[in-house]
């Protein structure tokens, strides 16, 4: 009996998932090795060795996460969540500042980024909540999700690590999608985020151009005008809100809906403006127009784009990426790892990377469809959101079609914390897949 159940257990493991994950890690190590070579052919960095060590440890973490049956002990996930929050608080108080954010916790040269592991803990916590709230109203689910998420979000924003904080939103959105929350709420969230981004970057963009031609720019750069608009929007949304409650007319509802999005966008933009560091704001601007600062913040993007484009169909070959090895691109091994892969392995190599990521994302969806309980589905959904978002932002950023937010490409980018987070997530997914058909 026992051996049979073992067989069933191993038989059900999603090997596609493991396979693509390990190949991505291998590709990452190769790319990290290449990024550590300078134009003179000298190995100037031993990052690839560290990555190999982290990968080795990460595999054990993966196995441990797979063996542990999270859905059996789902009532305990709040302990994990609380622990993650505690780590974040300690980081804020005693963390090390790296790249302008107090995001590192550690002794000496060894450290972790608690924000990374918090992603998993928060996904588990949200999954537990959504499962227990199966029959609650959409609005309540949205509100509670927002509340749970706001704790780690606020702590990470306080570091301040804008990129890592952003990732929580898509994770929650996918989970809410699975939780049967009305699309209008999800749309509300998406539009609010887009609005915050637009309202944050447009006035900055305007202020960096000598002659703002658009009257919209003047409107949102002038503080008094802005306050007036904000009050106007709030009044309209309140009035239309009352109108809707009173007359139950559909157009009142949509008016209030869109006005609320505007209000949240404006307020969010103001808050973000006070939280973001000048260099981060510059990155947002550079996203709109890299030539605005070609030697400064725009440099990364222009160099990354050039490196990718010059790679061509077949690539320049391993260790032959002239642009990357001239060390034109800072953070080559972390945020811009994609540019070196694209330069040296070309379009073909990138498509292989896309396919591997595609397999990973699609296996997640298959797992959602086949997993045995709602809790597991939510967990997979959250992790799927995180993977997809990191993929979208990181590669989009390297290609110059997404803002530079400095988040890693899971499994590929150099960095112990993000690699471990990725491998633990895969471990959780593997565990779910192994148990999906068991009673």
């Amino acid at each position: 009996m026992k051996s049979q159940s073992f067989k069933r257990l191993f038989g059900n493991i999603d090997y596609y998932l493991l396979f693509s994950c390990f190949l991505l890690c291998a590709l990452g190590i190769v790319a990290i090795y290449s990024s550590g070579i300078d134009a003179e052919g000298v190995t100037v960095s031993n990052e690839y060795l560290k990555q190999i060590i982290w990968f080795g440890i990460g595999v054990f973490l993966l196995i441990a996460a797979a063996v542990f049956d999270f859905s059996r002990y789902k009532d305990m996930v709040w302990i994990l969540f609380a622990f993650a929050i505690l780590l974040l608080i300690i980081t804020l108080l005693a963390g090390k500042v790296v790249n302008g954010a107090r995001s590192w916790l550690g002794i000496g040269g060894i450290g972790i980024q608690p924000a990374e592991f918090t992603k998993i803990a928060t996904v588990l916590m949200l999954a537990r909540y959504l499962e227990s709230a199966e029959f609650d109203s959409s609005f309540k689910k949205l509100l509670m999700t927002g509340l749970i998420m706001s704790i780690p979000l606020a702590l990470i924003l306080a570091q301040p690590d804008f990129g890592s904080a952003l990732v929580f939103i898509p994770a929650a959105l996918v989970m809410l999608t699975l939780a049967d929350v009305d699309f209008q709420y999800i749309l509300f969230g998406v539009l609010s985020i887009v609005g915050v981004f637009l309202f944050l970057s447009l006035p900055l963009y305007a202020s960096n151009h000598p002659n703002p031609e658009n009257i919209l720019f003047t409107a949102i750069t002038n503080k008094n005008v802005l306050i007036a608009i904000l009050i106007f929007i709030l009044v309209i949304s309140i009035i239309s809100g009352i109108g809707w409650l009173k007359f139950k007319k559909r157009y009142y509802y949509w008016l209030s809906y869109s006005m609320a999005i505007l209000a949240i966008s404006t307020i969010g933009a103001i808050i973000a403006h006070s939280i973001l560091k000048p260099y981060q704001i510059m990155r947002l601007l550079v996203f709109i127009d890299p030539s605005i600062d070609p030697k400064g913040s725009g440099w990364n993007i222009l160099q990354s784009i050039t490196a990718i484009g010059s790679g061509g169909f077949w690539g320049k070959g391993f260790l032959q990426g002239t642009h990357s090895h001239a060390r034109y691109i800072p953070q080559q091994s972390t945020d811009f790892i994609f540019s070196i892969i694209a330069e040296e392995f070309g379009f073909v190599g990138c498509i292989v990377l896309f396919i591997l990521y595609g397999i990973l994302l699609f296996r997640c969806i298959v797992l959602i469809e086949t997993s045995k309980d709602r809790f597991s589905q939510y967990v997979i959904g959250g992790l799927l959101g995180i993977f997809a978002f990191h993929f979208m932002i990181n590669i989009g950023m390297a290609m110059g079609i997404m803002p530079v937010t400095g988040i890693p490409l899971y499994f590929v980018s150099y960095g112990g914390s993000s690699l471990w987070t990725g491998l633990i997530s895969i471990g959780i997914l593997t565990g779910i897949s192994a148990r999906r058909y068991s009673a």
Binding site: I37, A39, E40, G41, V42, V174, T177, L178, D180, I305, T306, A307, I308, G309, S310, G311, G312, F313, L319, T322, H323, A326, Y328, A342, G346, F347, C350, I351, F354, Y357, G358, L361, F362, I365, I368, E369, T370, S371, K372, D373, R374, Q377, L384, A388, F391, M392, I395, G396, M399, I401, R436, Y437
Partner: protein, 619 residues
Amino acid sequence: MAMLPKKITLRIRILKALIIMLLVIYSINLFSMQVLRKELFVSEAQRISIQSTRIPAPRGEVYDRSGRNLLAGNIEAYSVYITPSELPGSKKSEVINKLSLLLNIPIEDIENKLPDSSLYSYGRIVIAKNASLEAVTQIAARIDEFPGISWSSKPLRNYADLQSLSNIIGYVGTITRDEYKLLYNKGYILEDLTGKAGIELAYEDLLKGKDGWISKAVDVYGKDISNNAAEIQEPIPGKRLILSIDSKIQKIAEEALGPRQGSVIVLKPATGEILAMVTYPYYDSRIFMSDNVGKAYLELLNDPNKPMLNRAYQSSYPVASTFKTVLTAAILEENAISPDKKIYCSGELIYGGRSWSCHIKKPGHGALDLKNALAQSCDIYFWTAGRDYLGIENIVSYAQDFGYGKPTGIDLPAENVGLLPTPTWKEEKYNEIWTPGDTMNLSIGQGYLLASPLQLANMMAMIVNDGIIYKPHILKEVRDPTTSALINEIQPEILHQSSISSRTFETLKSYLRGVIVYGTAKVPINTKVVQVAGKTGTAEVGLKDRWHSWFVSFGPYDAPAKDQIVVATMIEASNPWEWWAPYAANVIYQAIYANQNAHDAAKAVGVRLEGSSLIGKRE
């Protein structure tokens, strides 16, 4: 397996569609970049990057007063490079061998810098950073034997044999992390040198200059591809500084002080210019430019004699009888005691249940008026005057007037302001009440009172100037580094103006002259070439047979203020006792006004610079 509601199934389909959309859009974008628009990016990647090379600005030169003696300048330091693509493989090992011999670098070290993968690189690889001129000359002379070898030079700070001037000039060192944070906005980079002490630190802004740039277009291999001449932004050298220091007087003062821990200041009271400032022991600025600066610096720091300290203004001491000058001024100005009134010195005074001994033991000085009390430096007179006639408030107020306990504002870093004790200060510090005994101690410059030699020089300057102290300064002129045109001349700046009447100063000057003519300094100050006025001081420091020795003075006594100089000498009690301060001053006056060197001057006044045979007198 949980059954998925239909609605959720639909939503999962949407998720799938979104993922496919994402992958497809990214693939199309990538295809467009890497296949359709490839040529654009390839040419972009190969085309240009503008490579900027920094041309370091030479640091400003520092000259003495004459404008002819270079104290701190620059020499060229050479870096040697290899351009691998220009070095034929067949000659590689031969060239490396020769370089190794010339530059004194192990062959392996050079080879390690030239891995196989770099064989075709057009970029220059640094082989040596501090090559000698001889090595570079040899390479240049036989350049055909050194294919692919090139060099560049950058200015490196170079100091003359400064001796005691080292502590004034200071030194430069690599910028520290903390300094870098502060100086970042001024355009400093991490390899920059900054002034760490003395003039180098105080006038960093003037000396620094502005680095230049050569911008040239290079391709991705680092090969120069610009057709036109490189765009050059010339470096702007730092300003030339002319110090008020007179090298001749500095030398005289240095030799007059000799190897004794202490300091000498020669000051021009009419402007505040410092003509000489000697501290002993001193360091050698040149060791900071050597290769093992770390070790040398540690040795300096750990030296118990503290050679890094400029004792002339960074140390404060008990000033002893020199402080009687302040009391005399106070007595005269306040008319506290009639100048003719005599106070009897029996060599001893009983107060507060203990015996206070004058430096002349029983039977003491006898009856002395103010003039003679100052000349003989009678403790009994000034104890009585301070305690019974002036009181602590008056003494403190006059001491403040003379600059005690206040910064002199000298243009050098980290001055010691000393300590002027007051009753409030004592209560706060020790929670004890100020006693008449404290007043008596202060009256003869003992007790808590501390002042730097520079502060005492200022005291004398104020007497010479009838109440004005000019801010002492070392910098005299700022000049253009290339044309030597005058940019800025430091004007005398009034630090303090006293309200004491000029009549008091006139009387005080004649009394101070009396110290030399018929007082305590009659024997040591025997120079005939100049009339000196001043005050001796011998400070108790708790040792039985040794004291701090002071002599603060001015001269020529009969000359107008603008032609006078102030000389302050201070010998620490750590030296064997020889009452050297007045003797050193004597030699200095003789040498300056007879236009001699210190050795001839010493002979002329019958003093051996080596000292030791002198029999000193303690007051």
